[in-house]
């Protein structure tokens, strides 16, 4: 009898966990969407590698929305973590490429100036 009671409690507990589940990751969804937008505004689509990560982030957001609709919030939250990481990487890559281009330009300007002065 004791064991049976324990088993019922076990079933009850498991069902409760399944019904309650993880909350809908609204904040993570908004954050991921904002990061994608930020990366795009930051020029991520001008660089192929960064653009790829923007796409991966967008795909993941789409996937996460389906998972939310299916009630699989825990998985959606992790998918949104992926999306956010991809969006942040896209932004970082765009910034890196711009900084490298600026550095090359500045170096070229110095070279030109020195050449002109040595004429």
């Amino acid at each position: 009898m004791k064991i049976r009671t324990w088993v019922y409690w076990c079933i009850f507990g498991t069902s409760l966990a399944a019904c309650g589940g993880a909350p809908v990751p609204h904040d993570a969804l908004s954050a991921a969407q904002a990061d994608v937008k930020g990366a795009e505004v930051g020029g991520a689509n001008e660089n192929p590698k960064a653009a790829l990560h923007v796409k991966l982030a967008k795909d993941a957001i789409e996937r996460a929305q389906k998972e939310i609709n299916d009630g699989d919030n825990e998985e959606a939250a992790r998918t949104l973590d992926r999306a956010q990481a991809d969006a942040e990487l896209a932004m970082a890559l765009a910034k890196e490429v711009k900084a490298q281009a600026d550095a090359a330009e500045a170096s070229e300007q110095v070279g030109k100036l020195k050449k002109e002065m040595n004429k």
Binding site: H53, R82, A92, L113, K114
Partner: protein
């Protein structure tokens, strides 16, 4: 998920099943223990590689905070793998860890490039300042050289004024030497004293610099005009040749005989005729 469902079924089926559950759990635990050497998912392998590469690059010095975040993400993925094996959660965490490592690498690369640009900007400014200083020095040097040349020219003109009449006209600087000082009557060869004077003229012209020189010979109106033209040309050529022999560039110095064509005084008087017998050296200055 499938495992939880079968566990529930086992629970519902009653006491006897509890034993089966316990046996199943034990077996499962045993399997997990045996599977401790489970193969890490590709995502985790990629994350490890990405972190190792980022740690070797500029991120180690230039983006340590981002690299530390990447390390923490990797550790979390690693722990999850040890607890859950190659689950979807492990894969997701490893995926994020890989991205964090790549972000750290990109941040390191950006910082490195920004420092390089900053150094170039500094170099540009320094070079510009050096250039301005150099130009300033050059200008000062040129100014001094010009002042020196002007001084020399002034001295040369002053010394010329002692032996000849010097006048600035629209055609250039005209140095007029009296024919009686340069030549004997009806002769075109220079007198010894004339050579000394012309040496001074040559020295003055050399120090002053010029674009071109025309030596023009003139006579008074007495005698045959054609002979006067010939004599005036010969005299101009004698002066021209002497100046060239003293170092003036031959291609810049020419001679012409103008006879009695342009008198500067009255040919009716002896003094006037003496003034008309002359050689004019017309100097076109350098621009």
């Amino acid at each position: 998920m499938a495992r939880s469902t079968s566990l529930l079924k086992l629970c519902v089926s009653g006491t006897s099943t509890v034993h089966s559950l316990l046996i199943g759990a034990s077996l499962s635990a045993l399997l997990m223990a045996c599977g401790g050497a489970a193969v890490a998912p590709q995502e985790l392998l990629d994350a490890r590689t990405a972190y190792a590469e980022a740690a070797k690059g500029p991120a180690a010095d230039l983006a340590p905070a981002q690299l530390d975040t990447a390390k923490q993400s990797l550790d979390t993925a690693q722990r999850t793998f040890e607890e859950d094996g190659a689950s979807q959660k492990t894969k997701d965490l490893a995926y994020v860890a890989q991205r964090r490592a790549e972000i750290a690498a990109a941040e390191g690369g950006r910082e490195k490039a920004e420092r390089k640009r900053s150094a170039s900007d500094k170099d540009f400014k320094t070079t510009q300042i050096e250039g301005l200083q150099k130009t300033k020095e050059q200008l000062a040097h040129e100014k001094a050289a010009r002042a020196d040349a002007e001084k020399k020219a002034a001295i040369a003109m002053a010394s010329l004024a002692e032996i000849a009449k010097v006048k600035e006209e629209t055609r250039g600087v005209v140095i007029t030497l009296s024919g009686s000082v340069l030549f004997a009557t009806n002769q075109s060869s220079l007198l010894p004293i004339a050579r000394d004077k012309l040496d001074q003229v040559a020295a003055a012209l050399t120090s002053q610099g010029f674009k071109s020189i025309v030596v023009q010979g003139y006579t008074d109106s007495r005698g045959n005009a054609a002979e006067n033209d010939t004599l005036s040309l010969k005299r101009a050529q004698s002066v021209r040749d002497h100046l060239v022999s003293r170092g003036l560039p031959s291609e810049k110095v020419t001679a012409e005989g103008l006879g009695a064509s342009k008198p500067v005084a009255d040919n009716g008087t002896a003094d006037g005729r003496a003034e008309n017998r002359r050689v004019e050296i017309v100097v076109t200055p350098e621009k």
